[in-house]
Amino acid sequence: MNRILRKERLNSSVTLMEVDAPLVARKAEPGQFIILRADEDGERIPLTVADFDREKGSVTIIFQIVGGTTKRLDMLNEGDYIRDFAGPLGRATHTEGLKKVAVVGGGVGCAIAYPVTKKLFEQGAEVHAIAGFRSHDLVILENEFAAHSTRFLRMSDDGSWGEKGLVTDALRGLIEAGERYDEVITIGPLPMMKFVCLLTKEYGIKTIASMNPIMIDGTGMCGGCRLTVGGETKFACVDGPEFDGHLIDFDEAASRGRMYAGFERHAYEEACRLLNAKEASEPCL
């Protein structure tokens, strides 16, 4: 049981929770994830560590409400307990020796892009952060990115925040303007990461993508999180979650990610009914 120390709504469908988890906080590094169950009989879901405070013993998670489990998780409030919270899992992002990096985040993926941006910036690297959102009302962590990057490029699909356009437009612009990166790190929706990787491949820039497939145990037992990387089967939980973006089969990952789409819609509606029964006043998202 882990207590929720702080809960914050970052936008209409994204929530931040700072959770009391001293053992996880002691070891957590950017790029790693935790597995949680919101309640008894709950599903196990992986969430990437968005921040951690070793002294306070807390770990921050940021999640988008997309299905039944995230809906149930979002029903918990400060002072409530998350049933199970285990980690840190997966390998940490490799940052050693990187002098100049572009970090490209999209949507709620920016929650994961932020801790590595911060780490790189704090170890003295030149960090160009590019964040993309559909529109202004979905923006998260703007101040955090601005404070922990050498350059911060804001992109939105409709032009309501920063420049109108895609993150790939911004990245291409920087590269074309002569910026030379040791590495590009990208975290966001699969189509976005796919196109970032296609772009950097053109320029021969090493690119790391952070994958978030369906998982059960998260410890290297069930094999549900398998991906094809460079023609080989890899397990995101123990081999990843970050891989060489030029080798990942993104289309296959996208297809596998939709395995339970029908179930999720149903579970989400069920959770909404549950919520509405509890607080009739608050409309479901």
């Binding site: 996880v24 149930r72 199970d84 285990a86 980690g87 145990d217 037992m221 069930c222 296959e252 939709r258």
Partner: protein
């Protein structure tokens, strides 16, 4: 009185009924059957059955007490050697262990030792109040990694000797494979929970949601004051065949499929964890895990379930009893048959069709047995031109596992073999001082009882090492 030549059959749920529910298949002996079965024991002098038991239960002694109607006494005899009697009575392959050595078995069917063990354990659980006495503490602390059969056995044996034992479990529930792997209809989870409670009453502390190798390392446990560490972290990542189509939606490892159903309770109505139900299912493999997966799929509502195995019935590694159960429940065995490719749906008109990427079938080839291979089993070879299609919606790969890398990669000096299994000596000691290991983490996928045997051996070695220290 003439000897009853055959084992008393195990009362079971009717196949047609049980194939659609998750309740236990075998119902257990009644008191009358147990008394009559116990009377078959010849009480022979050399007691070969005891040698056939990996944890050396004094089998003739407990059967003798059953004969006298002293079931609680019989339970005490079993529990001196075994921490998990109700579990072993259900899942041990007695036919290749104790019962294979039974003197009566030379001429007739052996005594139903496993069924009697189960009867005694169930009788105890129903009738006796647990009066576990916490033994006096000896001041030594031991950490156990993993709460499966080897870990629980090691923890139980050490706790009984007065050690302060902490068990670290990566998942949210204790029990390891007994909880995530073996289905409810073969091993009710309430039984596992009860065995775990008994250990807690002995003073064993169980910490769930702690992944050794990640949350804490083996070295940190030793630095924290644990004088010995036992690694019973179990089997690891599932193997796949490496054929096209294994990433399609509807292809599972048996570990994933069983974990979703057992640990995550996807078999209950309206679960929070999804699982693919119904349709036609092919399970690839011939071990006990394959049988469990096939029978689970059937109970989840599959119209048709196939076991696809590349050798013949003779080489099928699963327990006979489980194979017979599966056959009676209507599972179809496609023996001497090997998958070549899994095929998926693809709508050429619409890349956004929701059905895209789901399994539609599996292309297989018939096999025949050739010359024996290194394992002594005749090697299956494909029959050219014998390809055929199996129309299925779900494919479950049950072809074994490879060891989990988490502990090895974070414990310096811990030696592993070519396959990744931890190397131990006959006492379970690894290449690291004070670090012991046993069970599937050492041997690769094996049985519950052999893991328990390893936990027992290591507990004895740890006790000798620490008391001598």
């Amino acid at each position: 009185m003439p000897v009853i030549q055959k084992k008393h059959p195990m009362p079971t749920q009717e196949p047609a009924v049980r194939a659609r529910n998750f309740q236990e298949v075998a119902l257990g002996y009644t008191k009358e059957i147990a008394l009559s079965e116990a009377a078959r024991c010849l009480n022979c002098r050399n007691q070969p059955c005891v040698q056939g038991c990996p944890v050396n239960i004094n089998i003739p002694a407990f059967i003798g007490l059953v004969k006298q109607g002293d079931f609680e006494g019989a339970y005490r005899v079993i529990s001196q050697a075994s921490s998990l009697p109700a579990v072993c009575g259900r899942v041990c392959p007695q036919e290749t262990q104790c019962e294979s050595k039974c003197t009566l078995g030379v001429r007739f069917e052996p005594v139903g030792i496993g069924r009697l063990e189960r009867f005694v354990a169930d009788w105890h659980n129903e009738n006796a109040a647990d009066t576990v006495e916490k033994p006096a503490q000896n001041g030594h602390r031991v950490a156990v990694v993993g709460s499966g059969p080897s870990g629980l056995t090691c923890a139980g044996d050490l706790a009984k000797k007065g050690y302060q034992v902490t068990v670290y479990e990566a998942l949210h529930t204790a029990g390891g494979v007994l909880v995530y792997g073996i289905p409810e209809f073969r091993l009710p989870k309430a039984i596992v929970a009860r065995e775990v409670e008994t250990l807690k009453a002995l003073g064993v502390q169980i910490e769930t949601n702690v992944i050794i190798g990640k949350t804490l390392t083996v070295d940190e446990l030793l630095e924290d004051g644990f004088e010995a560490v036992f690694i019973g972290s179990g089997a690891g990542l599932p193997n796949f065949m490496g054929i096209p189509g294994e990433a399609l939606k509807g292809v599972y490892s048996a570990n994933e499929f069983l974990t979703r159903s057992n640990l995550m309770k996807a078999y209950l109505p309206d679960p929070q964890t999804p699982i693919m139900k119904g349709g036609s299912v092919a399970v690839v493999g011939g071990g006990n895990v394959a049988m469990d997966a096939a029978r689970t799929a059937l109970r989840l509502g599959a119209k048709k379930v196939y076991i696809v195995y590349r050798r013949s019935m003779e080489e099928l590694p699963a327990r006979r009893e489980e194979v017979e159960h599966a056959e009676k429940e209507g599972i179809e065995f496609r023996l001497l048959c090997n998958p070549l490719e899994i095929l998926g749906y693809q709508n050429p008109e619409n890349p956004r069709d929701e059905r895209n990427g789901f399994v539609t079938g599996m292309r297989c080839i018939r096999m025949e047995l050739g010359e024996p291979d290194a394992s002594g089993r005749r090697r299956p070879v494909p029959i050219e031109g014998s390809e055929f299609m199996l129309d299925v919606d779900t494919v479950i790969m049950a072809i074994g596992t490879s060891p989990n890398p988490l502990i090895k990669s974070t414990t310096e000096g811990l030696e592993v073999n070519r396959r990744g299994g931890i190397i131990v000596d006959e006492a379970g000691l690894t290449s690291r001082r004070g670090v012991y290991a046993g069970g599937d983490a050492v041997t690769g996928a094996a049985t519950v009882i052999s893991a328990m045997g390893a936990g027992k051996v290591a507990a004895r070695a740890i006790d000798e090492a620490l008391r001598g220290a």
